[in-house]
Symmetry: C2
Subunit: 583 residues, 2 copies
Amino acid sequence: MTGQIGRWLPILGWARDYRRATLASDLLAAVIVTIMLIPQSLAYALLAGLPPEAGLYASIVPIFLYTVFGTSRVLAVGPVAVVSLMTAATIGQVAEAGTAGYAVAALTLAFLSGGILLLMGVFRLGFLANFLSHPVVAGFISASGLLIAASQIGPLTGLKAEGHSLLAQLGSLAVQVTAINLPTVLIGGASLGFLFWVRRGLKPLLLRAGLPPRPADMLAKAGPVVAIAASTLAVWGLSLDGAGVAVVGAVPQSLPPFTLPSFDLALLRDLALPAALISLIGFVESVSVGQTLAAKRRQRIVPNQELVALGAANLGASFTGGFPVTGGFARSVVNFDAGAETPAAGAFTAVGLALAALFLTPLIAFLPKATLAATIVVAVLSLVDLSILKRAWGYSRADFAAVAATMAVTLGMGVEAGVSAGVLLSLVLHLYRTSRPHVAEVGLVPGTEHFRNIHRFTVETDPTVLTLRVDESLYFANTRYLEDLILARISGDTGLRHVILMCSAVNEIDLSALETLETLDHRLRDMGVTLHLSEVKGPVMDRLRRTTFLDHLSGQVFVSQFEAFCKLTGRCASQPLGPHAKG
Amino acid sequence: MTGQIGRWLPILGWARDYRRATLASDLLAAVIVTIMLIPQSLAYALLAGLPPEAGLYASIVPIFLYTVFGTSRVLAVGPVAVVSLMTAATIGQVAEAGTAGYAVAALTLAFLSGGILLLMGVFRLGFLANFLSHPVVAGFISASGLLIAASQIGPLTGLKAEGHSLLAQLGSLAVQVTAINLPTVLIGGASLGFLFWVRRGLKPLLLRAGLPPRPADMLAKAGPVVAIAASTLAVWGLSLDGAGVAVVGAVPQSLPPFTLPSFDLALLRDLALPAALISLIGFVESVSVGQTLAAKRRQRIVPNQELVALGAANLGASFTGGFPVTGGFARSVVNFDAGAETPAAGAFTAVGLALAALFLTPLIAFLPKATLAATIVVAVLSLVDLSILKRAWGYSRADFAAVAATMAVTLGMGVEAGVSAGVLLSLVLHLYRTSRPHVAEVGLVPGTEHFRNIHRFTVETDPTVLTLRVDESLYFANTRYLEDLILARISGDTGLRHVILMCSAVNEIDLSALETLETLDHRLRDMGVTLHLSEVKGPVMDRLRRTTFLDHLSGQVFVSQFEAFCKLTGRCASQPLGPHAKG
């Protein structure tokens, strides 16, 4: 029983042995991550189209729940850029930003997403994430980064971008370019410049000043806090909010409120598919971060239990004023680098953020939105990696097509269409590739019992016997191709009497393939040709024995290809059978 | 150039050598098929919800076009039961049966379907039909047969069934059971009884009477014509149309009219997905009939050119008052058995049907719809084969799930949902199966250079070296599983220094798998373990060489597993390397 419970509640594993030394490391990491998360949470809430405090709320209870259910020791859960973008794109279709309906739709999306993740975890459906191939994920994240960066041009200039595609957004900005707010542009530009400098220039400077690499890195990560403090002071001191600079405004001082998602059926139906996509993307992102960090300490995470933990985190978000969350890359790396040793660091971070929500919110009333936009732009540009296009092109055209289509559709038609197109295309291309397996016509290498491709080796063949070696499992995607190939090879070849399928590389024969073999056998029989199998693997043979296929087969099943060739051609009568011939 | 043209116009291949003897056989077959097709065409038009003459029109120009473009010598194209049912289900959602809009929607569906088939043919996308696995097709056709039979209870009793699911139809009939029309039931029952007797009892009788099997078979196939003649005479003689028996009524005497599909964008969008499903189902049905018959004469058909021919046939139907068509099983078998030798038989059939449309239509004004319903029931019950459920259950649970889901959803929610559910489920199950490939931990069989599963053989291993043999190509669906498996196996094993992936069964490594190998290499390196590959196949190695993977790999690529094991363990230093060690 303890094992069962422990599987569902990983906290029981590490909380038992919790020590003072671990506590110190975890507390330090929590302080650093909290400082980093405050601006990030506010910014991603705005990106999702929600009031800034929703970002703080979405980081508190979800982190607690992940602490209880998660298997990664350092993963930090909360709002992340790509999921926030997908949230905005989804909710924008069912409600107007800024309305109460919008916030409820966000809670509902988190609720659905949490439910889907939890169910996938309970039913061990983590494999569904395999539908998202690496090229699709890479293309999608790069394109999303571009979309997010473009969406921040509005807040950085005081304009208002519209539309889900890159072109629509840029177009809507272009027509109102004369309405640019100069103080906003100055604040945005200064923040951007400062943050880029912190990222590129500050760390080397600190290193040269004698700081060890880790603290230097940590300090550089605190850049956004400095930018926020400075720009808030500037707006307050110069009363720039009166000059058209958009500020965060009054944020309630409160712990996360208790909220309820909507159970309106029409809304649930509209949000179901987007929620599934958000769940999958979030899961893939989170698991890859978790695995990367776990491997560095020879630990491991359990993907199906991660689904449960992320599901709980999202359900938590939906009942405490949040929106969809997942494990974030940057914050988890900071947590890891800052020395977090157990998920308790996450719990302490949640406490830190709760304190911030209670006591620090009055300080950010004058925080300009342009500064938050700048932190978003700097964060997401690291997601954009166009080298995947070149890399995929050099490696395989199919992979390139998947990346290119995902990026093009994401940029041109929005995030949901982009992921869907990528998934669909990679499935179709995979099916296309496996639908034409490698099939070699083989013959006997003289003096041996080996059979090799007749086009590559000098081998013995017989005009009455055709041997084909299939280098792939037989299943519904390739079964018709095999049938066409064999019929095409045979039509007109009137001397032929036997066809042998050499199955040494066939790991599986599904029902479609079995029926194709039966049909093929009938068709060959109509032509006066018998069908034989050779070197069928044990598990495949076991399954065939449970059917009537072997009773009706016109030919035989030979244990070895050599035996099949000898018996059917009568060629090796003089030659004693070697030790491999078991039949 | 002639070869190119010949590929697109197979008629050029056979028309050149057309002879008088062939002409006689083809004409005879055409007469027999025409007689069989008249009632069938009328009946399937009614099944599709269209006026009976649409069935004749749908059989004339499409057959001509297939004669020009088709590669099967005997396939007979026209309305078929399952496609007619799908047509009715689709059009029923956008228009009211009996209205002009309904007929135009049918033309538009044929147009879209033709366009899709033609494009698939031109771009050689026939492999897309592989999405439909045998269990899905078998389940779908059986369930459709049941649905069609149930839908004919209405015409057989004078009632009017409603709804797309089996339950809805039966329910709607049950509530109006008191409104049954007795003369209709008598005619329907008599027709049904007669047709079943013709099918089961007449042929043995004719055989006993001394007729050779083929003519006996042909005569038995003419049963529907007799039923139609007798019931039409009965209705006319007894004026049963006045007693509530629904009759076909006035049918125009005309050649197929020139018609135009609708180019309304909203309609085209609504019909696009159903048209794609109809195209795929029709193509799969048609190709399997064509292949079965071609194989009997050692001929072959070209699936991608069949797409072109079926596309042309459907486009033809859309411009001449028809509805979606495909190659039919029963009529093609009759054509084959009657001795058709070239597609010219099809052209003669079209002439026969055109003459019927011009001159015979006045004769069927009193034809009771109940008799046509009886011919449909008798025809489709042969499609229902529930043994596929038992067969799939005995063979594999995954295949059973696909059949059962397809049948249940088709019967419960209609044809489109049924096919979609089946396709989706078989893809998900396939992905699930290949997402967990067989991976064996192998060791050296003492005294040989062979490596075998450590759980099945007594083999030598080394605590510092782990060798895993992967029995599947590495691609996006299984790459995460492999990573999890290796990390799980390694975590905690502190003595390990080397991991060797033995790739003898890996036919492909896609970009997702390549990136996983890179990530794995990094993670293993973080743990102080090096990653090696052995026995990588030539084409896979060529592709890897085009990347930087091999430069960054922590370990080496060994030509043979034996060499890898020897070098890394230093165990076989005393033993001379055998002839297989090429490195």
